[in-house]
């Protein structure tokens, strides 16, 4: 380990980054803007879990990161197919 636990501090910074990105859910005019936050979750949570797994010496968190990456991809594809695959509705 280093002088101080760099990985823990940086993973907390990344968690703050996700929380700030949640503002886009409140203000995005279209549904796709809200869906972008799921992409943000997918990439950033992989980095958070890898850093935490390095900081706490638990390699099992790498498998959790794999699951998160796959879930983000499936969420985006399901959004495009099921929500926006139907006929366009009026903007509410």
């Amino acid at each position: 380990m280093a002088l101080f636990d760099l990985e823990l501090v940086l993973s907390e910074i990344l968690i703050v980054t996700i929380m700030v990105g949640l503002i886009r859910i409140v203000r995005g005019p279209t549904a796709a803007d809200r869906m972008l936050t799921a992409q943000l979750f997918g990439t950033t949570s992989v980095a958070i879990l890898l850093l935490l797994g390095e900081a706490t010496d638990t390699p099992a968190l790498q498998d959790v990161a794999l699951v998160f990456a796959l879930l983000a991809a499936i969420a985006g594809i399901a959004f495009v197919q099921r929500i926006w695959g139907i006929e366009p509705e009026t903007h509410d």
Binding site: A2, L6, E7, L10, I13, L14, T17, I18, V20, G21, I23, R24, T30, A32, D33, M35, L36, T37, Q39, L40, G42, T43, T44, V46, A47, L50, L51, E54, P59, Q62, A65, L66, A69, L70, A72, A73, G76, I77, F79, V80, W84, G85, P88
Partner: protein, 104 residues
């Protein structure tokens, strides 16, 4: 040997720190950019570059070769899924008639 270990450790810490900076920049772009296409561009590019830098730093600090290979495979999976998803979202937005923002 110990100097080589220390060098790779600090180089890895530098890579991880710069990757986290890219994540912060990607979130700022997600909040500040005007339309869906530029937001997609900012988010996917900056975040995948940040994840690549974080994983490069972790590979430099990895103990075993298999752990490093697993990290690289995770990065390749995230890149492929993120590129596919962002392309699908942008194409669906165009099909629904959301126009890219023109010059004011």
């Amino acid at each position: 040997m110990t100097s080589l270990m220390s060098l790779s450790h600090w180089l890895g810490a530098t890579f991880i720190l710069s990757g986290v900076l890219f994540f912060v920049v990607g979130t700022i772009g997600l909040l500040r950019f005007p339309d869906i296409y530029s937001r997609l561009h900012a988010l996917t590019k900056a975040d995948n570059l940040g994840l690549g830098l974080v994983i490069a730093g972790l590979v430099l600090q990895a103990e075993t070769l298999t752990g490093a290979l697993k990290l690289i495979l995770i990065w390749l999976l995230v890149i492929a899924s993120s590129a596919t998803t962002s392309f699908l979202i942008a194409r669906a937005a165009l099909n629904r008639g959301i126009q890219p923002r023109s010059k004011p």
